[in-house]
Amino acid sequence: QQQVKQSPQSLIVQKGGISIINCAYENTAFDYFPWYQQFPGKGPALLIAIRPDVSEKKEGRFTISFNKSAKQFSLHIMDSQPGDSATYFCAASFTYNTDKLIFGTGTRLQVFP
């Protein structure tokens, strides 16, 4: 019940295309859903996050779509660029312990020119 399932495992996108990564969860006590971006040799860095009181959040080319009834959320990267090539992790945390992040398994994104 504490798992966050992420797909796909890897994704290859042409420059300018849309990258879509999906995550699903079971535990309705999750209250905070961040996405992290990790480049090789670096630690994860917070990219964008959403709480379940909104269905969508957009920051530049990055958008989170949230479907509370389906217990799913996704990251959309518009106009994907080679510099977006990285591993992306979704995560979730509980209302009563927002510090405890449960990470998905990660998606390796490669954007080709």
């Binding site: 966050v4 992420q6 040799g41 670096k42 630690g43 994860p44 860095a45 917070l46 992790f89 995560a91 312990n97 927002t98 510090d99 405890k100 992040l101 990470f103 998905g104 398994t105 990660g106």
Partner: protein, 111 residues
């Protein structure tokens, strides 16, 4: 501001040996975390400190792993004795209120 510092960046040891990792969080960050990231998986929280006290160590294999944060600043994570399955990247993160900032990690290979 300087980020989370970790050392060493890489470590190769044989099984049954011991190893220690060091983390220096962002100045002023009261909360410090240690994560284990196995290849192909997301980070898994091992232990969380608030200042120099342990908040959550429920997923720390206490028979072989130990961690301390003396004086509420730097922290060390130790593995003794190491097993093959401990091969992973060990990430340290810190936070003041909310967002966690991760260090570059220490890649451990156990042969």
């Amino acid at each position: 501001e300087a980020g989370v510092a970790q050392s060493p960046r890489y470590k190769i040891i044989e099984k049954r040996q011991s190893v220690a990792f060091w983390c220096n969080p962002i100045s002023g960050h009261a909360t410090l975390y240690w994560y284990q990231q196995i290849l192909g998986q997301g980070p898994k929280l091992l232990i969380q400190f608030q200042n120099n006290g342990v908040v959550d160590d429920s997923q720390l294999p206490k028979d072989r792993f130990s961690a301390e944060r003396l004086k509420g600043v730097d922290s060390t994570l130790k593995i003794q004795p190491a097993k093959l399955e401990d091969s992973a990247v060990y990430l340290c993160a810190s936070s003041l209120a909310g967002e966690q900032f991760f260090g570059p990690g220490t890649r451990l290979t156990v042969l």
